[in-house]
Symmetry: C2
Amino acid sequence: MNTASGTEPYFLGIDLGGSRIKTVAVNAVGQTLEQESIPFEDREMEWAGRIQEMVLDLRMRRGWPVAIGLSAPGLAARDARSIMHMPGRLRGLEGLDWQQYLGFPKPIFVLNDAHSALLGEAWIGAAQGLENVFMLTLGTGVGGAAIVDGHLLRGHLGRAGHLGHITLDSSAKNDDVGTPGSLEMAIGNKTLRERSQGRYTSTEALVRDARHGDLPAKALWQDSVRSLAIGINSLINVLDPEAVILGGGIAQAGPDLFEWLTETLQRHEWCPAGLGVRILPASLGDLAGAYGAARQAILSQSGNVGTVSC
Amino acid sequence: MNTASGTEPYFLGIDLGGSRIKTVAVNAVGQTLEQESIPFEDREMEWAGRIQEMVLDLRMRRGWPVAIGLSAPGLAARDARSIMHMPGRLRGLEGLDWQQYLGFPKPIFVLNDAHSALLGEAWIGAAQGLENVFMLTLGTGVGGAAIVDGHLLRGHLGRAGHLGHITLDSSAKNDDVGTPGSLEMAIGNKTLRERSQGRYTSTEALVRDARHGDLPAKALWQDSVRSLAIGINSLINVLDPEAVILGGGIAQAGPDLFEWLTETLQRHEWCPAGLGVRILPASLGDLAGAYGAARQAILSQSGNVGTVSC
């Protein structure tokens, strides 16, 4: 494969987010050569054109990468060449064959964005070196992914790790995918207005008021964090991690989140032989997906295509 | 390794249950050569002596097996040579090194009983050939195990797959391991007396009355099965199986369980691209654990020691 003269071989990770596209170029030992982040509007496949331009620009300067990984919302197809299911947003993404679209000479490994973020954190972030770990991304909704026994869980339809869609209150109403009283509904920003009787639209404001001693705010925040603890407790019994990684905007609350969460979790967690689970903040921020995609690109060259090991 | 003359090489699966020990001897292609089931009392390690006698008897008649797998309650140690955590019952089991105890010339692969049962079902039972499947054993409590992307989930402490310990009602009281309002509490026999205000101690009797039109019995049974459906729905979003296997005494209820369960699940299940999950009865009954242990014995000879693939 031709690379531009004078440049070293590199691997490209692309992350198609909700409103930004991030790319990271890394060398074979994982050093970052460059990264980029650009905004886009979700109309007429603008995102696809932007990605094409970014890849072309890189190719002009560095030649083709050795391999490309691409992270995007939705469920990745079994052959990992496209996103097979992404209703509602990013029209045109479903079924788009990225190798063909970008004219790349090899298959491009396409991953679900939450899977990719955990792969990134497990590579060079908060989950580095952990063989049993799951991640929750606390934002508008609650996303998730899990690595068990060293394997990133993909599942039959690429849906494994939708950890926000577990029930905590079976008598409550259904969430977007039909799950009653889900973890996502208990702590995601999308229900905050309803949970606060219209008082809040941002968890940041809620946490600030709670910290300053506003009693209703404190009660609501503690209740939300208790729900998160109960959800994590369930997931610990299912997935048996060594650590749990929390990312997304709500995880920025820092001690206001982690202290109350840990205290609540300790009241419920089954600690066989006295061994508990660590709760850690994610460390790669919004670059986790791009790094995970780059990691998958590297793995795809070492006989790991299709297994998504870490 | 010496085998008695005139007998073919065989693999031995041993399942130490709550009140019975089951063994199965299979040949290299998985054909059953013989099986045995004997009762024991849980006192002074009677179970250990019984297993020793059973193995000695087999050895006299067939020589040593090529490999031995052993399934038991509790969490298997990371090196799979013993059960490392089993409080309350089977005193003496924790830390017992089975290779040493039985004087076998190779390591004996020790598995958690629920893990073993699913491995058995995935080998020659209801989950045969499935790469993404989980199993719930509905009895006194609710046990579980999961295979995702072809790997049996073991986890950091061997606890993965404790699927009965997920919360369905976060405001209810804690179960045995600290999980509030768990799936186990919603359908396991251990809470039936309480759930029925003292009227029932056996789910079989409850189901019979429900079938014959007793309205309170019907309401309670439907409520229990709805909880099971909600729990399965959560687990589908986490583990993304192709099918769910139900075993244990309560699964004997047949259509009284499966029809209402399927109907309720359909009201909640997220079916991406219209694809739903099949709910199937287990097919190996109480021999699943012994077959799973035998399967693990075979796998341990083909380079799969420690990975517990299926």
